[in-house]
Subunit: 147 residues, 2 copies
DNA sequence: CAGTTTGTTTAGAATTATTCTAATTCCTTC
DNA sequence: GAAGGAATTAGAATAATTCTAAACAAACTG
């Protein structure tokens, strides 16, 4: 996995390329999302960021998240009407929402499956985004590491 | 397609089976969703229902929608943070959200594709629901009937 | 049937995630 | 170091939805 300083550079580059600034607020919001990849909500991100930067405001967190999303540095994930969650995994993937624990897990989707899905669309339909999500229970307890 | 009176009977049966009542409000909300299958929001349903039953309240529309959903008579569809939409198509299917017109189209998903999707889940993950949605533009204008 | 219970509707208040507003602060560049 | 644009901030505003408590309606019960 890319180191934090690498991703930090990526942030700076991606932002300055679009004429935006790599502010401390944007950096810390990004860092927090990379650090604990548990698909936090804006509120949770706010709480974590506040620990390092007590003066930041919730509005700023929302602003930062918006710029990060617009610049393709994090991804937004929505489940039903629940608060939006944020995900640093930029590879094509689906999400599994564990209803019993509330946890969200990334699910790998092979490119060929994505192609298959795209083929479901009638002629003339052009999808710029495909969202696939599962809801259920990750019931079985295993002995080896969990994600 | 099932006639309206058939589906009306289905509504009555499904509700009374769970000890609920087939009230005029529930009936008209259900009818409105079946009549124009354009994935309306609660607000839109409220407006349409009001034309036939001017005294109904928005809260009741929400209540009715909740019971209809809980009893498997209509399906809820969410796109990002947009208002929830309601869909009378109970077959397994995906949705295409046309960003230019705001329209929502049903997309057929063959059973074998659903099986493939379910196979993406690691052992121990049990999905009770799979949501697949496309976002984009249905750009090509065609001469024949559109859905 | 009269009375009670249970389920349903209703209007309006409350909630909650998010966005907006307007003022202030911060960089960057002349 | 002043000007101008970008970003942050606190708090107000918004919008979809849910909650609350009262009124209503239908269904049981004796």
């Amino acid at each position: 996995m890319a180191s934090l300083s690498e991703t930090h550079d990526a942030l700076t580059k991606r932002l300055t390329d679009t004429g935006l600034r790599a502010t401390p607020q944007r950096e810390v919001v990004f860092k927090v999302i990379l650090e604990k990849r548990d698909h936090p909500t804006a509120d949770e991100i706010f709480a974590r960021v506040k620990a390092q930067m007590p003066t930041i405001s919730l509005a700023t967190v929302y602003n930062c998240l918006e710029t990060l999303v617009q610049n393709g540095l994090v991804r937004q994930v929505n489940f039903d009407r629940a608060p939006t969650r944020y995900c640093p995994n930029l590879h094509e993937h689906a999400h599994f929402h564990d209803e019993t624990t509330g946890a969200v897990h990334d699910i790998d989707v092979p490119a060929e499956v994505m192609v298959k899905l795209r083929e479901l669309l009638p002629h003339g339909y052009d999808a710029c985004a495909i969202e696939l999500s599962f809801r259920g229970a990750a019931g079985v307890r295993r002995n080896f590491a969990q994600n």
